[in-house]
Each structure stands twice: as C-alpha cells, then as structure tokens.
C-alpha cells in the first residue's frame, strides 16, 4: 500500500508549542475519495497545509512513493498535488479562461510564455465543459458567484493535471443545488484521481464519501467507511454526537467569516 497513493506517517506540526497536528498516520489509496472530518481545531487544514508544503512539519508524507516534506510549495505542486482553499482564491482581475490557462502552464518554456495565447488549449476547453463555465470564459473571475469560483478552482486543478486533489471545504456557503453539482463534479474528477476533501457538512459527506478519516485534537480518531465511522462511539462523542443538536446540521456559512 505504501508504494502508491498518499501515505502520511507520524506527521507533526507545532505552532508556538501548540501541537496542531500531533502524530497523524494516514493512508489514502489511489482513486479514493476520502473525507476528512472533525471538530474545529482538529488539525484538518493544517494537515493539508503540511502536505502541500505551506507549513513546516516533521514525519513523512509520501505520494506515489516520493517524499514531499521539505520541498518548496511549487515543487510539490509540480509533482501533481493540488489544493483549494476555504475561501476560493482565483485571480479576480483575469478572465476564467486566463485563470485556467495559467493553471495549465507550469511546464511552459520561456518562448511560449513570451507569446500571446492563441486559441484555447484542449485541456482548458475540456475543463471549461467539465466545470460548466464554458459560457463565462471571457468574464473576469472576480464577478463569478461563490460556487462558480469554487468550480473554477477545481477546474484549475484539473488542467494542472494533478493526481492528488486536496479540497478545503469546497461546498461551504453553497446552495443545495450547487452542493449537488459540486458532489457530481467530485465524483467525475475522482474517477482517475485521488481526492481528499475536508468537510463539515455531514449530509454531503454521507452522499459522496468513499471513505472517512476523523481527526480530533491533532490525531486520527477513526478511519473507515461512512457507516463504520458513524457507528463509532468515540466519534459520536467528540463530533457526530452533537449532530442530534441542531447546530452542526446548519450549513457552516459562519465558517467563512
């Protein structure tokens, strides 16, 4: 199993003495659609930050057999690892097409860069169809609706040709229809890629997760299928148990602030 997919061993991230991630072991086999859940402060985003090189960490993170820890962010991205953020970050001044074209171009040579873009690269046209923004390709990304920006980000990961997608709360603040569209999009892009999703929305998780890891206080509490995780007593205690109360059922719009 350790030869392919994402393998995390004894990952630790410390901020000023606070252990945000405290010895995480995680195995995500290739092709999996894994959901990371857990209460606020469990270390989910920090885990993704460590995998993508944004924060320093100790331990080991391997993808497709290659060690990632210690490499700069852009080198890790070149190895086929892409991520999105809780607040969609697209290049607001550039058009949808320009956003995708930049995402597709990390391997371009200087001569290609110095020329003007003629036409639409095939991968970009394909991604425009997949994320359903073909009709908006010449609009500045800044005018897109919140959900459309998230889809554009996923589209950017597609043209970037990543093999591992790390998505940080992709449906936060989305309407019901947008959630469904996003879930279907995740299924489609997950067919030939490994996908890890951080999510608070339990309904969304139940519908689309293939497997689930529960994080709590910087450690993995439980790993398994949706049913296994939901049946676990400890998980119910720290997290799901509160699902009986109305609070977590409400979509975490407040998360955004």
């Amino acid at each position: 199993m350790s030869g392919a997919g994402l393998t995390v061993r004894d990952l630790r991230v410390t901020f000023d003495g606070f252990r945000a991630v405290d010895g995480v072991d995680l195995d995500v086999p290739p092709g999996d659609l894994r959901f990371l859940i857990g209460p606020n402060g469990a270390g989910k985003t920090t885990l993704v930050d460590a995998v993508t090189g944004l924060v320093r960490a100790t331990g080991s993170v391997r993808f497709a057999g290659e060690e990632l820890l210690g490499r700069p962010v852009h080198r890790i991205a070149r190895r086929g690892i892409g991520r999105t953020f809780q607040t969609a970050t697209v290049f607001e001044q550039l058009t949808v097409l320009q956003n995708l074209d930049i995402a597709a171009g990390a391997g371009r040579g200087p001569l290609t860069l110095l020329r003007r873009r003629r036409g639409v690269p095939e991968a970009v046209a394909h991604a425009l169809e997949t994320i359903g923004l073909a009709g908006l390709r010449d609009r500045p990304a800044g005018v897109l609706a919140h959900g459309q920006k998230q889809w554009l980000e996923i589209g950017m990961l597609l043209v970037q040709d990543v093999r591992l997608l790390l998505l940080d709360e992709p449906v936060a603040g989305m309407s019901h229809d947008e959630r469904e569209a996003t879930g279907e999009l995740l299924r489609r892009v997950g067919e030939d890629r490994t996908v890890v999703v951080i999510e608070h929305d339990m309904d969304f998780m139940r519908s689309y997760a293939r497997s689930v890891s529960v994080l709590h206080a910087g450690k993995v509490l439980k790993q398994g299928t949706v049913a296994e995780v939901q049946a676990d007593a400890r998980v119910q205690e720290v997290y799901l148990g509160r699902a009986a109360a109305p609070e977590p059922v409400a979509v975490p719009v407040a998360e955004e602030a």
């Binding site: 550039l94 597709a104 391997g107």
Partner: protein, 379 residues
Amino acid sequence: MTTTAPPPAPTPAVATPPPSPSARFRVPGAFLLGAVLLFGVAPLVLSDFRISLLAKYLCYAIVAVGVSLAWGRGGLLVLGQGVFFGLGGYAMAMHLKLADAAAAGETLPDFMLLYGSGDALPWWWRPFANPVFALAATVLLPMAVAALLGYFVFRRRVRGAYFAILSQALAAALSIWLVGQQTTTGGTNGLTDIRGFFGYDLSDPVNQRTVYFVVAGVLLLLMAAARQLFVSRYGELLVAVRDAEERVRFLGYDPAAVKLVAYVVAAGTAGLAGALFVPAVGIISPALIGIVPSIGFVIGAAVGGRASLVGAVLGAVAVAWAQSSLSDAFPAAWTYLQGLLFVVAVGFLPGGLASVVTALRARRTRTAPAPAPTKGETA
C-alpha cells in the same frame, strides 16, 4: 523560468473570436499616432530648446515603461529606479568623458585633472573607453545588479512596503557613495560638460535633434516590446502573481522567478533611459539619481495609470513638464506638490488617469448596440 520539462504542445481547440475591427486597429493606430507626433509634429512646432527639453522628458517616459511593467503589472513598488538610471547614466557618461579627453589629447577626464590625486586612470574606468563595452554596460550592468538583488529579495519573500523601503535605501546609498568619490566620479557635481557623442558635437542643434530622435525611437520600440510582454502569457502570469502570489505557488510556479524577470527588465529599461539622458541633457549627477528623483520616476506612472502603458508614459512626460515649469516659478512648492500628487494618485485614483479613460470608454460601449467583449486590459 526554471522549467526543464518540455512544454506541452497547446493545441488550439477553439479559436478565440476575432477582435472587432476598431479594436484590431486601435493599437497599431496608437503607435502610428505616437510616431507621427514624435517624429513629425514635435520637430516642426518646437524650438531647439523645447526639443531638447522633450528629449529629457522622454527619458523619464522610458523609465516609466519599466515602472509600468514592474509596478503596474507586477505590483512591485520600484521606488529605487534611480539606482539603475544612475548606473546606465554613469556608464554612458564615463565613456563620453573618456572620448572627450581623448579628443582633447588628454589621458584623464577634465575633473580628474582638477581634483585628481594621481595621474593614472582608475582601473574600473578603463573598460569604459571601449564604446561597445560602455554601451552594453548601460543596460547589462543595471540588469545584473537587479538580478542579484532581486534573487535574494524575492527569495526571502520581501514585498510590499519593505521592498519599497529597501529600494529607496539603495538609491540613497548609491548617491551618497557617489558624492564621496570626488576624484573618481566627480562627487556632487557628477559628470558634466559632455561635449561629444560618438564623434558628433553635442552643442550643434542638429545633433541635439538627432539625439532627440534616438530617444523617441527607443521609447517607441520599448513600448512595443512592453506591450508584447503585457499581452503575452507571461503578462497574464505576472498579474496573477501580483494579485494572489500564494495561489500561483500552488499551481507549480515559482513567483520569485516571475517577479525577478519584471524587475530585471525594468532595471534594464531604466539603465537605457539613464544612458540616453546623458547626451540629451549633458550631465549625470548624484542629485539626479537619489531618493527624490527615484520617487519622481514612479509619480508620473502613478498619475497617468501604472497598469496602462500609454497612461504611464504620458503621465511621466506630463509630470516632468510640470516639474520644469513649476519648479522655476515656485521652487519651494514643487516638492510638496509632488508628494501631494503621489498621495492623491495612489490613494484615490489607483488606476491613474487611464482608468478614467477606460471607465468613459466602457460607458460608451455599454450604450452601443453590440458590446464587444472587454478584455480587462488597458495598453
């Protein structure tokens, strides 16, 4: 760029819709208009004195081309362009002083005879006797300094106000160092009394006009080159780095390399402007490259519109013209006015006057029957 992988051949699957006829001819038309104004109208209607003043303003406009790239598109507030302007200017002036001395039968430039301690030319002056070396140095020396500096600064992720302050400090340091080197650089006076320019007598008005034409030609060529950079994929990437540097990193690019290219090109542009300034004005001195002139280099771009090439260039010419006219009438007030202009432009009109033009044009096209797709670009 630090790419080693072969670029994936982009196959155009869908053709971009052709731009509307007016848009297609707008850019070549603007260049043609600029050429007619600079090469046809200006020499006809302006006196020799005014032409040489215009040549000086156009040198500032050349600096503004680089400022527009680095600051307008790259978000790098280059407040120390005086350093690169000075390196280019001094490289050119050193050669011209040596040529003047040789023409007069001397081995040392006049100021060295006056203040010099020894009778030998300093070793670092010697290569500048070679015209090819000196001309190459006017551009390559500033670019090399910018590359070295930028490499460390961008790698350390120094940005924003810290980058601007660092640039300022460098401009101050160079001008202070030059003042202290009376015997080898002319000190406060700088390098003055430049008479010849590659065999031509600069006091002859005809040759002054030729210098003006060279400056105007270089400006137009650099604007064309800068425009190509603006509309290229690199230009799009540069804007992306300006607006969301971290996001670009996660796409597999090194933003430091992207910014470095813009910074080095802007430095080379400023160096070339400094080199042309010397024959156009006949002097280069520490007072022309220190903190105040370095701020002056970006004010024109700020007022005209830093992200717009034409805006930055026209702004630079207008501010330089205002400075010459007003600083004669109110010498004390100009510095305050300059500061006020900068604050107002950056604080209240970040897009400069060019953004006003764009807004007006957008209003007009909105009322037109068939609105053309706006490309979000002003060049």
